[in-house]
Amino acid sequence: MATKNALKVIGTLAAAALALAACGTTSGGETAKVAESIGDGEGQVSILAWPGYVEDGSNDPNVDWVTQFTADTGCKVSYKPFGTSDEAVTLMRTGQYDVISASGDASLRLVAGGDVQPVNMSLLKNYPDVYPFLKDQAWNTVDGKNYGMPHGWGANLLMYRTDKVSPEPTSWGSVFGGAAEHSGKVTAYDSPIYIADAALYLMKHKPELGIKNPYALDADQLAAAVSLLKEQRTHVGEYWNDVVKEVQSFASGTSVIGTTWQVGANIAQADGAPVETLLPEEGATGWSDTWMIGSKTKNPNCAYKWLDYIASPEANAKVAEYFGESPANPKACELTTDKDHCTTYHSGDAAYAEQIWYWTTPVAKCIDGRTDVKCTDYSEWTKAWTEIKG
């Protein structure tokens, strides 16, 4: 009797859960109309962004570019930071946010989910200044429609301890084929997206695999990258996903060679750790963020104003310097407090930027243009990553 009742209760709950899920999965696929002009501000804008991208002086009185924006446009900013691209995608789906700073591994998902709208870039007066190599890229432009304002970018570099690694490395081979030399002291980025680093290495050293883009791997190519990474694993001491932890490993000598972001190298060098970074001969993976506008926004004018403002030389300089990245607008380089900022981050170096394969979500439809095969998607990469780490 009791069991029967319990079953009934569970059944009812299951039905309720199903109903809820059904509501959640209704797709908001249709594309919003592209704006033709920017009107008066609505008085507010809500922004979803990486921590450090929207500062109003409340964290550090010296770091504030939001107050200026509100004074200029009358748009009050409410800001919600997110920790990962996946959190960003989930939050954006609620439709509560007008603007989002999306990295390349989130932007295509937002477009496909109908969560963001195309942006009329001709309305944004700072857009023409933006570095050309950041425009019309796979992570911000879909089917010829532009989805937003490029923000800063950076590369995933190779870092090594100058006192423990010699001669100076020149290739990613130092952490793949040559990893045995520093066995147990090699570090790698702890994310499925790191598979692209191995794919990039194979692209240059095993041309017979036919990899044209490290984010478009068919099953065979993925298997080759996985076996390379499994080989690497035996020499890895630690996988990192927190740049502070990584810097500490390099400082103590627990890690002596591996991937880093420039900001990590700067922190380590400021602490006196003997580390150097380089962009190896194969090039590198990297990240580039895009400011996008929500498809359900009620404040489109303020959203457009934010996209334009954040790419202005003054604001872009402040963000890039505070966050530790390359600005999108070259005019920002003259306004940074540290005059070497753009040199350190190779901001205007198109040849340097060309060697960078920016993070893009791997999807089943191959982004290198192949139509005869199905590519592996991000969930397959995640499962492969679990398998690699063992």
């Binding site: 319990a6 209760v9 569970i10 709950l13 299951a14 859960a17 199903l18 899920a21 059904a22 959640g24 999965t25 797709s27 990962t84 996946d86 959190e87 995608v89 989930t90 789906r93 295509l108 998902r109 496909a112 989910g113 147990g184 994310s191 499925p192 694993r233 890895v236 001491g237 630690e238 996988y239 996903n241 932890k245 500490q248 490993s249 103590s252 000598g253 627990t254 979500t361 999807v363 089943a364 998607d377 991000y378 969930s379 990469w381 995640t382 499962k383 990553w385 679990t386 398998e387 780490k389 063992g390």
Partner: protein, 312 residues
Amino acid sequence: MSLQTHPGTKPDPGTLPGPAVVPRAKKNTLSAFLSRAPRIRLAGLLTAPAGWLILVYVAALAALLITALWTVDTFTGKVSTTWTLDNITQVLTDPVYQIITLRTIWIALAVTVIDMVIAIPIAFFIAKVATAHWQKILVIAVLMPLWASYLVKAYAWRNVLADGGLLEWLGAPVGVSSPGYSETAVILTLAYIWLPYMILPIHAGFEKVPDSLLEASSDLGAKPLKTMRLVMLPILVPSIIAGTIFTFSLSLGDYITAQIVGGKTQMLGTVVYANVGAANNLPFASAVSLIPIVIIMVYLFVVRRTGALNNL
């Protein structure tokens, strides 16, 4: 005239005003009804706690199980509600998940055994050797680490275990080297973090052993070790098992320590975290998280007869 002011007066139904009688009569009907129907009385009493339990516990588990049977569109991140056993099949058949499960169980067991070995003498000392004044201080000392954040403790161990860290510095003269960031580091750190959860139930167990019983054992000629084995241990077993439930289940689900000092160690928790936090694949993460639930249910089922569950 009223009934209350004249208890001795025999009530005369004919003269009583209607309204004064009706509420009493109603109340009587309800309580009389309940006293005649014990099942309904019981149901009434149990509805609130049972409802709460179902809402918080059973519903959560059911939701988890249902989610594990769904799939996710990995591109848009939207859950598609088609039923499939793929996730569960993959978790059960893929060797990598079997290895991770075994490793997680091994880590949880090692942590539990280490904590047990350290906790029994400490708990014995606090409960039976220390004076009443010191007992209080020592119990506070055991509780003290719980006041510090888990993260701070785990990061502190990261520094202790680093190359050139405290452990290496202390260990160098006696030839002990740091295990670095590894599985051993995870076991050490978890054993440190969960230790109070083992000491406290065992301490409570020792407190229950009356001193007179130990004196009687001694009077009858038992040596301390024999008293320990034949008198104290049987009384203590439920408390020790209560402690192991804490350390074992907490280690089984941990993912933070593994990320901070684990180097490249994967546990079930880190796999769940990777699938929820990185891949947004909730159904697959649910399927993985069913493993520790099953393990701990089996463990609880095995130990339920020892009376350990009354000591939690």
